[in-house]
């Protein structure tokens, strides 16, 4: 599971949850691979991402690689910044681990890169 995806998920649909964002991460296996750099796509995605959540998520699994804590001004033309954002958003993949609901502590396993977000019957 990529950090871009993590940034977009919430456990709010659970019965006892009000906000459910962001989900905590426990990562046992992380794979970093090279993904084609598409600066236009990254520039388009950045405003849609919660940057603080992204930064914290990357830091919690030791994959920051110099990512700035704040979005720089005029980021659309900052090649270096876009490259660092690209790395954190798309090149880091959590293969095995868990996502954790911040309000109930419920754990959602990730195996083979795929998170299992199925709720139990008493949670819907």
């Amino acid at each position: 599971m990529k950090l871009l995806t993590h940034n977009m998920l919430t456990s709010k649909c659970m019965k006892a949850v009000t906000v459910g964002y962001p989900l905590g991460i426990n990562a046992s296996d992380v794979r970093v691979s090279e993904v084609d750099f598409n600066p236009d796509f990254i520039a388009k995605i950045i405003p849609k991402v919660d940057w603080a959540v992204l930064w914290n998520a990357a830091e919690s699994i030791g994959q920051l690689e110099g990512l700035p804590k704040d979005i720089v001004e005029n980021y659309e033309n900052d090649h270096d910044f876009l490259k660092k954002a690209h790395h954190v958003l798309l090149e880091v993949d959590i293969i095995n681990g868990e996502l954790i609901c911040p309000e109930t502590g419920r754990k959602f396993p990730i195996s083979n890169g795929i998170p299992n977000l199925l709720l139990n019957e008493d949670e819907v």
Binding site: M1, K2, L4, T5, M8, L9, T10, S11, K12, C13, M14, Y21, V35, D36, N38, D40, F41, K44, K48, L90, S111, N112, G113, I114, P115, N116, L117, L118, L119, N120, E121, D122, V124
Partner: protein, 451 residues
């Protein structure tokens, strides 16, 4: 094949690519060809090369009802328009095509030679020539009973071809990971065109299965997400769909499919997620949602839930508990799908999905609908004598109000209800008929015994 879909696809592409295409005369919906005008050759190439419905496009130099008149027209065709293609350094080829009628090689050569008056200077080259000219005879659409002479004849210069090669390349026969309901490449690409997928788009399939629609969206530049309630399917541990395959390979997956076609850079993620309880943040917006929801026939329509009252999962079972599923009715699925789309599509974004119908009952008012979605296309694919499915394309025309996120479209026709009732009746009728025949035979035998 898929005739109904042509107009819809062309409309979507013309809009996506900002191409001006005008029909010359009234377009005939039964004929396999259209005569159209473009503003430029580059517009033509951009449109045709993205199309599933178009096989090829020629620059029409002459069109007539018979060969004699065609030659006359061609000889009067302005020379300066032909000259650029007849330079001595350009190789060429002339193809003879007869639509819906078979002719012998000898007849083909005769027809070919009748064009020898053309001022061609370059060498003939049968494979990959610089210029390809085509002579086409149209014998109607009934291949079993073609007329003696063609209805129409055409001559022109080939300019561009549609996506046939890509369709072959993506064939399910050679795909790494398929399931029982994998969508074929032709329809998948068509759906991606209906959704107007372009470079950099975010695309979601919330009933992703084996990911065929994601492959198509990625081919057109989309970055793709998928989700599905079926754990075994996403982890490629279901029984293999191929007759000869005993076990699935260890590395089958949706991601592997995308890797097969060099599209893994467009793969974002897939999630095991019950669509009835989606995990997407409220602010998440997709450019398009392309999907084939379960109809409840070949795959289950289910959601997490239980009919037991006050059901809780005990702490010690929590980590290995597999949640029970209950029925997720078709009208609920489509209601949820439309509400989800209205919430999570960007303005102007599209939802493209199939909807199953009983043909004799079909009414447009029984289709799923939402005030924030405009139905821009609706094409039928016949499945059996009594059933078909419709490819629906919705476009989000405005953001929903809070009440509009909780609408209940109760008039959506439920396909699954009638499907199983219909089958049940015919089974019962069959049993009654068989019982009646058995009784008649027994009576007959008894009578013969008495004689």
């Amino acid at each position: 094949e898929h005739i109904e879909f042509r107009f819809a696809e062309m409309e979507s592409l013309v809009s996506l690519l900002n191409v001006d295409m005008k029909h010359v005369g009234e377009p005939d919906s039964t004929a396999p060809y259209w005569i159209v005008e473009f503003a430029s050759e580059s517009d033509l190439k951009r449109l045709v090369s993205r199309s599933v419905s178009v096989r090829s496009c020629i620059e029409l130099w002459a069109h007539a009802k018979d060969m004699g008149s065609l030659h006359q027209k061609l000889q009067n065709f302005p020379k300066h328009l032909m000259e650029p293609y007849f330079q001595p350094n350009l190789s060429f080829k002339i193809e003879v095509e007869t639509f819906c009628r078979h002719i012998t090689q000898k007849e083909k050569i005769n027809k070919l030679e009748s064009f020898s008056y053309l001022p061609v200077q370059g060498p003939v080259r049968l494979k990959d020539p610089n210029v390809c000219l085509q002579y086409i005879e149209y014998y109607g659409t009934r291949a079993n009973d073609p007329p003696e002479l063609p209805y129409d004849v055409f001559f022109g210069r080939w300019v561009a071809s549609g996506l046939r090669q890509l369709i072959r390349k993506l064939s399910l026969k050679t795909r790494k990971f398929i399931g029982n309901t994998s969508m074929d490449p032709q329809l998948s690409l068509l759906m991606a065109n209906q959704a107007k997928v372009k470079n950099g788009d975010l695309v979601l399939d919330p009933f992703v299965g084996s990911g065929s629609l994601l492959v198509a969206a990625a081919e057109f530049g989309g970055f793709v997400f998928g989700s599905d309630i079926d754990y075994l399917m996403l982890h490629a541990r279901t029984r293999p769909s191929r007759i000869k395959q005993k076990e699935r390979d260890a590395d089958e997956s949706i991601k592997a499919n995308m890797k097969q076609y060099n599209l893994e850079h467009k793969y974002l993620d897939v999630l095991i997620n019950d669509f009835a309880s989606p995990f997407w943040r409220d602010c998440v917006e997709f450019d398009s949602i392309i999907t084939d929801p379960p109809y409840g026939i070949r795959e289950a329509t289910e959601r997490v839930g239980t009919s037991k009252e006050n059901y809780t999962v005990s702490e010690k079972h929590l980590s290995t508990h597999i949640p029970a599923k209950i029925e997720y009715g078709i009208s609920n699925i489509y209601n949820d799908l439309l509400t989800f789309s209205v919430k999570h599509l960007r303005l102007g974004g599209r939802l493209v999905c199939w909807f199953p119908v009983f043909r004799e009952d079909y009414q447009e008012s029984g289709l799923p609908s939402h005030p924030c979605l405009k139905l821009v296309a609706n094409s039928e694919q016949v499945l059996t004598k009594i059933t078909s499915r419709r490819l629906l394309t919705f476009e989000k025309i405005r953001h929903p109000s809070v009440t509009e996120l909780h609408l209940n479209e109760s008039q959506i026709t439920d396909f699954r209800e009638k499907y199983f009732v219909a089958r049940e009746e015919t089974r019962k009728e069959r049993r009654m008929r068989e019982a009646r025949i058995r009784k008649e035979n027994w009576m007959k035998a008894k009578q013969e015994g008495n004689d």
